[in-house]
């Protein structure tokens, strides 16, 4: 008896919800008419996740529909980057493509390149830095490189996985200084934080992650930032010299761009590109990026296309030099 009445109540509820649903169904309207989804190829809590979520929040203001952010993690970004490229190109699934898109096809992880996307805009570049422990004898990048040259294999670097962006930063810097990139072996780590932990504990000699990631430890006096691998000094670290100032012609950074799958309708592009250009200038977005120490660098779709091409060439060069190209 009781069982039956529960079943009936559920049934009535179902019918009611169904009716409401039908009454909501309206004729097709202009883009966008339903929620947009942003795919983040990296885990919750990281930098890409934080910036992607912020874009979602602010983009909502300019497109007038809810924007949901989902993480598709794993496979060092391959899974999420592929998910964006393989999504239905209807303008309702977008994503954040990071520097790894210019790297992973070189090492044979996937055939996907930036050609698989409709570019919407570049929004951030974070240069790599040279971080050593506070009690390290080195006080400049050149001193460190000389020591590595004199004792190949003795000093190790860490900060990301084997063949990850910060690994290339170290290898490329050595290369540019005329030292064999194998002179400082790489100790793979799950990310910058565990790498910095090893650095402080004395397990490795240098971590070439972004200075932003090392900021708190530098402020606490545990870590010295010797150089930034950028063309100009970083706004958040005006006292840190660039490698170029120290006579080493090498710059490398991680970057993030906002994209959709290839073949999106022009109607959607015409809405998204100007909306995204407004997001990047939005005071809330600027405040957030500055607070977290992320550098805003904007490029429109045409500029982003050029950016992709250059990055692809640069990354291919370093990866070949390090011997990771398949």
């Amino acid at each position: 008896m009781k069982f039956k009445s529960v079943a009936k109540t559920l049934g009535v509820a179902a019918a009611a919800v169904g009716m409401v649903a039908v009454s909501y169904g309206t004729a097709l309207a202009k883009y966008p008419e339903r929620p947009i989804q942003i795919i983040i190829p990296w885990g919750a809590g990281g930098g890409t996740d934080a910036t992607g979520r912020m874009i979602g929040t602010i983009l909502k203001k300019y497109v007038g529909v809810p924007v949901n952010v989902v993480n598709r993690t794993g496979g060092q970004g391959v899974v999420g980057h592929s998910a964006i490229a393989n999504a239905k190109p209807d303008g309702y699934t977008l994503g954040v493509a990071t520097v790894e898109i210019a790297m992973m096809h070189w090492v044979g992880l996937t055939k996907l390149t930036s050609d698989g996307y409709t570019p919407i805009g570049l929004y951030n570049v974070d240069p790599a830095g040279v971080q050593v422990s506070a009690d390290s004898p080195w006080n400049s990048a050149q001193e460190m490189i000389d020591a590595m040259k004199a004792n190949p294999g003795k000093f190790m670097g860490s900060g990301t996985s084997q063949g990850g962006i910060w690994h290339l930063a170290l290898a490329g810097m050595l290369q540019a200084a005329g030292v064999d990139s194998g002179a400082a072996p790489w100790v793979p780590s799950k990310g910058a934080a565990p790498g910095l932990k090893e650095l402080v504990a004395g397990g490795v000699s240098v971590v070439t992650c972004s200075p932003t990631e090392a900021g708190p430890l530098a402020n606490a006096g545990k870590v010295k930032i010797l150089a930034a691998m950028s063309d100009e000094r970083m706004g958040a670290f005006p006292d840190v010299p660039t490698l170029k100032e120290q006579g080493i012609d090498w710059a490398l950074g991680a970057w993030r761009s906002f994209v959709g799958p290839k073949g999106m309708p022009q109607e959607a592009i015409d809405v998204l590109v100007p909306a995204f250009a407004k997001v990047v200038k939005d005071p809330d977005f600027v405040k957030f990026m500055n607070k977290r120490g992320f550098q805003i660098v904007y490029r429109d779709p045409a500029g982003l296309k050029k950016w992709y091409k250059q990055a692809d060439k640069d990354m291919g060069g370093v990866l070949k030099a390090v011997g990771l190209v398949k």
Partner: protein, 158 residues
């Protein structure tokens, strides 16, 4: 479904050997390292094969007590056999169809089918399948923002 240890062991032996051979042949080494991506899978493969051998020996020793395969009682009951096939079939159907049909129709169909197979009366099954589908959908889609696919219901999405 219980197998004699000898059969389980044989399966593990073959699987372990396959893992070992695949790891050894196709995984590259780390530059300048003796231990690379192949190292752990090889240990695991050898371990599984070793356990397989032990189980084969145990199974052969007990071959007079334990038959090669003991099917569960359900295997003799056509109704239960069909039920098992239907459950697995429902999940497979969900995996293949949900993106096209959408969550609501797929879930409604398989929940109702399973309930009827388990002995709920069809009308009650319809009520409960509809109710639970909508509750799950509302909870995950609306509150937890999980993008459950709409499929064919996209035009009337709510």
């Amino acid at each position: 479904m219980r197998f004699n240890d000898a059969i389980t062991g044989m399966v593990l032996l073959l699987f372990g050997a396959a893992v070992t051979i695949h790891s050894q042949l196709s995984f590259p080494g780390l530059p300048g390292q003796n231990y690379g991506p192949a190292f752990f899978p090889t240990i695991i493969g050898v371990g599984l094969a070793g356990c397989g051998v032990i189980l084969i020996i145990q199974g052969v020793l007990k071959r007079h007590e334990v038959p090669l395969v003991v099917m569960g009682e359900w295997a003799r009951s056509p109704r239960h056999r069909t039920n098992l096939a239907i459950i697995l079939g429902c999940l497979l159907f969900y995996i293949l169809a949900v993106d096209f049909l959408g969550f609501v129709p797929t879930s409604l169909a398989i929940t109702m089918l399973m309930m009827i197979r388990f002995g709920v009366r069809p009308l009650n099954a319809l009520y409960m399948a509809a109710g639970s589908t909508l509750i799950i959908h509302t909870f995950f889609y609306k509150f937890l923002l999980v993008p459950l696919p709409w499929g064919i219901m996209q035009p009337i999405a709510w």
